[in-house]
């Protein structure tokens, strides 16, 4: 995508977890401009069939576009989320805390 101003910064780093699971470490902001990118990266990890932990501790912005990506995958997969206090409200308000295991650090 061509950048117009400050594009929404997002880095997605996949890696193995301690217990044979997968970890997707996300850094930056997630909005409608890059939610699809985030969804694709998440799908690649979920394809392995193991539990996937999405580490959102370095995410400074998450709105309903990003929340929708997580919701769409929470039912069928073992999805775990780690985030800072900053995202607590959004995760709670959206109801994600009811469908995924959320750890606040």
């Amino acid at each position: 995508m061509e950048s117009r101003f400050v594009t929404t910064a997002l880095t997605l780093v996949p890696g193995p977890g301690d217990e044979g699971d997968r970890i997707l470490t996300v850094t930056g902001e997630i909005d409608m401009s890059n939610a699809a990118e985030f969804g694709s990266a998440l799908d690649r990890e979920l394809a392995a069939g193991t539990a996937v932990t999405v580490d959102l501790t370095a995410v400074t912005y998450l709105d309903s576009a990003g929340v929708a990506v997580l919701f769409d995958r929470a039912d069928a997969h073992d999805l775990r989320l780690v985030a800072t206090r900053l995202l607590t409200r959004v995760l709670q308000v959206s109801g994600l805390t009811r469908v995924a295991k959320v750890t606040i650090r």
């Binding site: 594009t7 409608m32 912005y61 308000v93």
Partner: protein
């Protein structure tokens, strides 16, 4: 006069019987007789004199002069008014003369009088000018009052120049030498220190300064002023001050010592023969003596700061105020002076003030406020309260306010300012126990450095309604003990918080503790937190006003730090969301919101922005959308408007039909969505801090 005119034997007059007068004369006389304004009709070629009741006091003992030729009535000034009146008769053109000096002999002496008059022609049926109609005002009191004020002001302006007593006395004699119309002769006799001997220190030009025959020692001994009359018989002709006759009366006045000490000398002030020595003249001469004493007492080696102080201390304004207030005709002067000592009319952004003296119709009292622009974009803030009420307190207030302002401009630090003001206040009678709050604010950071001389603490009413009392930099009221360095403290005024300064008249009630009053003020301020600052100030004044009005003077000063509203256009494209968020985040940080709220606002606004983008997307080149954010008190409002043509959200709108709307509703205190033909506007609101 109407009765006198009816009874007058008109048959013997060239004017003839009134029933035979031409209609224009009848009309002019009727206007004249029914007016309460002094008026004259000058009739015919010899300008026969017809006048009304209002004109009587102007005639003095000349009345009655009905139907006399003008030249016989006003022979003393005919060389001035005669040609003017004949000119109107000859040309038919009206004239206007302002503050003309007309020396008159109405009461057995030559009097200095000033007049403003207009003269217009009265035509008969054939169009010929038959008479002159004159309306006249006696402006003597105003003209002389202004001249005396100017002399007092000039004396005051000499403060701090003289280094010795002799020099001070010569300065006074110089000024009075130029004020000969009011003080034709003056002599200053100074006490030799430690003795009862008097020495001539200065005399006005042309005077001898002779001591013989004047009650100098008597006045020095008991401090009681004496009036001396029959001057020419006793002392020969004294200088006349430019008047036609030499003075006949003089007053001998004591020069009071510093701070109630023994008299330092006496002053002889002759009165102009052109005026009766009435109450207002005596007051003026008394003020000249006081000013002289102030100058003599203030003489000595001075630092530049003291000079500046003394220039202010001169108290010209206060004295002039007292003098001016006495005279109803000088009410306008009094009002202008009052306003000039009260405080600035224009205030910097973010300030509001209210002032209510306890003694209407007086417009000033003992309280004051001041807001002073300082260098480095800082702002000086002062609120003070002199003991007492009314004119006396206002006189002290005027001096302290000016001094405090000058000191703050020089010293720049609140504690230094109040320490110097202590030294100043010691010299001002009745300044003892004045309370003052003095602060220096940096509006960019909200840093407030302050020092308080016994003043009720400034209160910070925060957005959550909590009150913070700025009582750290406090010490005793002004001049109550040997001056020493005053303390100073620093506080921060967060964006959205209200800084409230007031004098105790606002919160003090009989049968009630001061704390209750302070709590009430804080409560009202918090309840009205979202109001415009000016409305908030009015609300405070009206809510706290007792049923029977404030018992004491009240000064109220409010300051609220604000961030200017943010308004921006953004392209309705997903790629522009990050930049929009960046600006919004920066603004929210400036506004000092806590981190959790900042995130709530950011996400809710982000949802609304995404909605705007959805309206134009995927076309990609849709019109711009608009974001604005403003914070008024504790009320935060974010508006996002787009130009989408949807009257209802389209079925595939993810935000309004999906998770976005509930998210906004959960994160904001209130959400309003309005669709119309112009587009969609989403308004998000928060109450900050509660």
């Amino acid at each position: 006069m109407a009765a006198r005119m009816r009874e007058f034997d008109w048959a013997s007059s060239p004017l003839g019987r009134p029933e035979d007068w031409p209609p224009s004369l009848t009309t002019a006389v009727r206007i004249c007789l029914t007016s309460r304004f002094p008026m004259i009709v000058w009739w015919g070629p010899d300008l026969r004199f017809l006048y009304n009741d209002a004109y009587l006091p102007l005639l003095g003992t000349k009345h009655p002069v009905l139907d006399k030729p003008g030249e016989q009535v006003w022979g003393d000034i005919w060389h001035i008014v005669g040609p003017m009146l004949h000119g109107v008769l000859a040309t038919g053109e009206a004239t206007w003369s302002e503050d003309v000096l007309l020396p008159m002999n109405r009461y057995g002496y030559w009097e200095e009088t000033y007049w403003t008059y207009s003269s217009s022609p009265v035509h008969d049926d054939s169009g010929a000018v038959r008479a002159v109609f004159t309306a006249v005002t006696d402006t003597t009191e105003r003209v002389i009052g202004e001249r005396r004020l100017a002399a007092l002001r000039e004396l005051g302006a000499r403060a701090g120049i003289a280094r010795t007593v002799d020099e001070a006395c010569r300065l006074v004699a110089d000024v009075l030498g130029r004020a000969g119309a009011d003080v034709p002769y003056a002599a200053i006799h100074v006490r030799r220190p430690g003795t009862d001997d008097l020495v001539l220190a200065a005399v006005t030009p042309g005077g001898s300064g002779n001591e013989e025959g004047w009650p100098l020692r008597e006045v020095l001994a008991d401090g009681v002023p004496r009036t001396v009359s029959g001057l020419t018989a006793k002392f020969g002709e004294l200088p006349s001050g430019g008047w036609s006759t030499p003075p006949v009366e003089a007053v001998v006045l004591p020069l009071p010592g510093d701070a109630g000490g023994p008299a330092i000398g006496v002053i002889v002030l002759a009165a102009s023969a052109g005026h009766a020595v009435d109450e207002s003249y005596r007051t003026f001469l008394g003020l000249v003596a006081q000013q002289t004493a102030a100058l003599v007492n203030g003489a000595g080696p001075l630092g530049t700061e003291d000079r500046a102080l003394l220039a202010l201390l001169s108290g010209t304004l206060a004295h002039a105020l007292r003098r001016a207030h006495r005279d109803d005709r000088q009410r306008e002067v009094a009002l202008a002076l009052q306003r000039s000592i009260l405080g600035p009319a224009r205030l910097p952004e973010g300030f509001a003030v209210r002032y209510e003296p306890a003694n209407p119709p007086l417009e000033v009292g003992g309280d004051w406020y001041d807001v002073i622009p300082l260098d480095g974009d800082r702002i000086g803030i002062v609120v003070g309260d002199c003991v007492g009420r009314g004119l006396a307190a206002a006189a002290v207030m005027g001096q302290l306010r000016s001094a405090c302002r000058a000191l703050l401009l020089e010293a720049n630090s609140p504690s230094h300012t109040l320490t110097a003001l202590d030294r100043f206040a010691v010299q001002v009678p009745d300044a003892l126990c004045t309370t003052v709050f003095c602060g220096v604010l940096d509006p960019a950071t909200g840093t407030l450095t302050y020092s308080s001389a016994g003043h009720p603490p400034a209160t910070l009413v925060h957005r959550d309604g909590t009150a913070e009392f700025l009582d750290a930099g406090g010490s005793v009221p002004l001049a109550v003990r040997v001056p020493e360095a005053r303390p100073e403290a620093t506080a921060v005024v967060p964006v959205g918080s209200l800084l409230m300064l007031y004098t105790d008249g606002l919160v003090e009630r009989r049968h009630e503790s001061l704390d209750d009053g302070v709590d009430r003020a804080t409560g009202v301020a918090h309840d009205a937190h979202d109001a415009e600052l000016s409305d908030l100030a009015s609300t405070l004044m009206s809510s706290l006003r007792p049923d029977d009005g404030y018992e004491d003077d009240v000064a109220l000063l409010l300051y609220r730090r604000t961030v200017p509203p943010l308004t921006m256009e953004f392209e309705a494209h997903p790629e522009s969301l990050a930049a929009t968020r960046h600006w919004l985040r920066a603004w929210l940080t400036d506004a000092g919101l806590d981190e959790d709220l900042e995130q709530d606002v950011l996400v809710a606004a982000g949802e609304a922005c995404a909605n705007a983008v959805e309206h134009a997307y995927p076309a990609g080149t849709g019109p711009n959308a608009h974001l604005s954010v403003r914070l008024t008190g504790a009320h935060l409002v974010v508006t996002i408007a787009d130009h989408g043509r949807w009257k209802q959200p389209p079925p595939d709108n993810h935000v309004l039909r999906g998770r976005g709307m509930p998210m906004m509703e959960a994160l904001a205190d209130a959400v309003t969505v309005r669709h119309d033909t112009e587009g969609t506007t989403v308004t998000l609101e928060w109450r900050v801090g509660s």
